[in-house]
Symmetry: C2
Subunit: 208 residues, 2 copies
């Protein structure tokens, strides 16, 4: 991972996300532009929040399990989306299954299309309220980006790539990730879309 050194003043922010996570959506739509304007690179880190929640004994998202917090969350999301100027609709399925999209993101995390792919998939969930976890859905997103969908989907479904995503989720758990979005700058961890600016400030402070 690129980190502070005399020969590499450019910093990296790791963005750990799950396509089902609504607050990850707010980050996904703005992180590349915001980080880029500050000279910070984004490392895309797809993982699955489900197994982590299960390890806490939770059967679903806290926004589903805790009624009051859930009701608040949808009001907060509407206000926050307005503040950031991104489209928003409360998804009719939540948390929406997104295993195949996460596998594709795992395969493509260093590809030039990753940012556009993440944004298009997130928008499909949280602005268009469409299913994500089918080959047709993923093909539609990839085709809109002029990516060879058949090839990418086939590779994403390989045992090796499936293992990569499982390992990313295990790494997330080992590093103490308990929600999303989560950011790392080196070993410093920041939780939630509300901390994106702080994480970028910290990255810049490490640049010399």
């Amino acid at each position: 991972m690129p980190h502070s050194s005399p020969n590499n003043p450019r910093q990296t922010i790791e963005f750990w996300f799950d396509f089902a996570s609504n607050y990850s959506y707010l980050t996904a739509m703005r992180i590349e532009e915001l980080a880029g304007s500050q000279g910070v690179d984004v490392a895309w880190r797809p993982f699955l929040l489900g197994p982590i929640f299960q390890s806490f004994g939770w059967e679903s998202s806290p926004f589903v399990l805790q009624k009051q917090k859930g009701e608040y969350t949808w009001k907060d999301m509407a206000r926050q989306a307005r503040k950031y100027g991104v489209d928003w609709v409360k998804p009719t399925a939540f948390p929406r299954r997104a295993i195949l999209p996460a596998r594709v993101a795992t395969l493509g995390k260093n590809e030039p299309w990753i940012g556009d792919y993440v944004r298009a998939t997130m928008a499909r969930n949280f602005a268009e309220d469409k299913d994500l976890d089918t080959e047709d859905a993923v093909r539609e997103v990839l085709a809109s980006l002029n990516v060879n969908a058949d090839e990418v989907i086939a590779q994403a479904q390989s045992d090796e790539n499936k293992l990569q995503l499982r390992q990313a989720t295990e790494t997330a758990a080992r590093r103490g990730i308990f929600g999303a979005p989560m950011f790392f700058v080196g070993d410093e961890m920041f939780w939630g879309n509300d901390r994106l600016e702080d994480a970028l400030d910290f990255a810049k402070s490490q640049a010399q």
Copy 2:
């Protein structure tokens, strides 16, 4: 509650807090000055988070019950306190009992000393790591503000005032409060120190 009307353009933000809540501390130290600079009045709303957590089946704070979130919270608090320029020490007792301080805040919520009292009590917990829930502790705080401590403590312990605090906590639950700090501007609810600015912006937008 003063709210938007042609004859009363000045707005009010309700600040619901518990002295044991660390993120309420960050708000307590800055809300009066920040709101005042924007022409918004603060309505102090002490309540007890414990009974609300118990109603969810939780025996303590989520920062205690969930190890990963707890560990993160203390790192986040140190960074946030630095950002806001307030002193901070991780309390050796958490969540710290604060029934008597909450009763005094209930009694004094409309008194001129309430802001100073809340800040001094919060700082005692989160900057000085001292116990709160004894008559001596409360007397020390009140005396430093030139408030008649014996009189206030006696009234705070009256059945009528105890009932007031219980009713405030019931009102909090009824309005959907699930954590602290919580803000209301009219019926619009905002959760967390991170939403103070948004809540104040909303209050100002209602001023005409």
